[in-house]
């Protein structure tokens, strides 16, 4: 699987390259700046891009803007955005096109290589990887005005994991329950939140995220 990586700090870029290579990814390009990233995305047509939000030369949200522009040019281009901080504002912009194949994670998540690589693969396959902190921000806001449609604590936990973009199998192994139990929980959740049921994993995640984001 071919990856384009954009990160301006040498140590982090180097570490990410090593980690991705260790998990059998092919590094198509590892770049430092926004313009380089834009060029690499257009010319190399990678399977997935891993992008730092803040990039030179402007040191603003240049990485995010490049990624969004590239996705406008090529809808559904898988992009995993990394940042030192997560903002719902950015999450909202990334999810806005509804095409999936989007990840938004804190840089801390690279500490857990297995989970991080899992997130990269999921995004490359058209799925979603939302940082748990984004989800908990969304949930804590909602908790104030209305209880989440009467979800049980168990269902709430399933929903949080689902909103992060995990598959039923991953949720099952995380919670140490069977996949059948997870499936039952998810169909309950969709019933209680009044969301249209969907078999497509990714549509399902986006529906939950959109529901949470209504504020």
């Amino acid at each position: 699987m071919r990856v384009v990586l954009a990160e301006d700090l040498f140590l982090l870029r180097d570490g990410l390259v090593r980690m991705l290579e260790a998990y059998d990814f092919e590094i198509a390009a590892a770049v430092e700046t926004g313009p380089e990233l834009t060029r690499a995305l257009a010319e190399l047509k990678p399977d997935v891009a891993v992008v730092d939000v803040r990039l030179p030369p402007s040191h603003t949200d240049e990485g995010l803007q490049c990624a969004l522009a590239a996705r406008r040019a090529r809808p559904g281009l898988p992009v995993l955005v990394l940042s030192q901080h997560v903002e719902q504002l950015y999450a909202r912009e990334l999810l806005a096109d509804g095409n999936g194949a989007i990840g938004y994670l804190l840089k801390d998540r690279v500490f857990d290589a297995d989970q991080f690589i899992d997130a990269v693969r999921r995004v490359a396959a058209g799925g979603t990887a939302m940082d748990p902190q984004v989800i908990s921000q969304l949930l804590s806001r909602r908790a104030q005005d209305k209880p989440m449609g009467g979800l049980t604590p168990r269902e709430r936990e399933v929903m949080e994991l689902m909103a992060q973009g995990r598959s039923n199998a991953a949720i099952a192994s995380h919670m140490v329950i069977t996949e059948r139990a997870v499936a039952k929980h998810t169909s309950n959740i969709f019933g209680k939140l009044d969301l249209p049921p969907s078999d497509d994993d990714n549509r399902r995640v986006l529906a939950v995220l959109a529901y949470l984001d209504q504020g």
Binding site: V53, R54, H59, T60, D61, S83, Q84, H85, E87, Q88, L89, R92, K107, D108, F111, Q137, S140, R141, Q144, D145, G215
Partner: protein, 422 residues
Amino acid sequence: MNATRGRVRGALLAAGRGLLLSVASLAGSLTLFVLTVLSIAFILLGIGLVTTPWVLTTVRRHANQRRLLAITWSDVRIPVPYRPLPKDVRGGFTGQVERTTLMLKDPATWRDIQWLMVDMTAGYVVATLAAALMIYPVEGFVLAAGLWRVYTDDRYWYAFVPVDSQASGLAAAALGVALFAAGVLLSERLLRAHFVLARSVLAPTHEQELALRIDRLTETRHEAVDTAASELRRIERDLHDGAQARLVAMGMNLGTIEALIEKDPAQAKKLVAMARASSAEALTELRDLVQGIHPPVLAERGLGDAVRALALRMPIPSEVDVELDGRAEAPVESAAYFAVSEVLTNAAKHSGADRIWVDLNHVDGMLRISVTDNGKGGAATGKGSGLSGIERRLGTFDGIMAVSSPAGGPTMVTMEIPCELS
């Protein structure tokens, strides 16, 4: 027709106001002038030390009253030039002496006294004229209507018209009409002239304005330096107790791991996990710290989006409306951001609101921010409240804040900072 009626009404209003002013000028200013002179003269006898601060404060109140009338009645702005009294004036007799000396040293005091003299003479005449032009014609009409009969034997002078018959009565009325017309044209201008006269004496001179500006700058600089110093202390403490301590723990763990890795791999693995947890916690702490120093969204996106991101984190649904075409300078953005953040936090904690609106725009070289909530109002603005802290911070940029929070709500906090966008 309507325009004429409006002018007449305006002139009548000006005449009424002129009448009030003439009373205030003659009675108020004359009395206060006499009191001031006596009080200052009696300083030699000691009594003056007690009375002077009181008298001068009353004079200031009297002058401020006129400043207020000037802006509300004739749109004439007269700046306030008084030096603020230091907060730590001692009590008792020494305090009185100190207060008297300070007040007498303030050049604004002497200008006040000058103004009292001008006000009770020229000011009085101008104000009276504004009133007389509208009131005196009434007498002319009354004379023409029949009052002239009283004066058939002994002629009565209405201005320069001798009244002793119907014909001369009508002449008086004609003069009255002319005066009334003049009054309609002039009363408002005369009233304004009265205030302009007051401004020429009361407004601070250029030198005084500079002195006041320097006082203000010194004050805000002190506050800015204090705030910056206490911020640095807070950051130092946070780093020292937080990230730094965690890194020490991590280093220690790594040392132990090095020693254990061959002897006791299981224990070493446990310590590795602990070291990783420490590094994650250190990162979280650093992230919170950075958020408090200069929020990353602010650096990346500017004030508008930073406030939007802030609103998204609020427990109360908040609407943000931004009309800014450009970015302000970084220090201004930062001050504005933290001010909004503080106001929003206050609203979430105390207002009991279920909705908040934030408006940001830039008009006439002013960044204007208003935060409105539909809560129960009664926000405290006194010393020590969060809102007064905001005022101090904005002061560094010559920014101001106004709070309107009647009991029962809604609360509206408005902030203005002069700045350019680029």
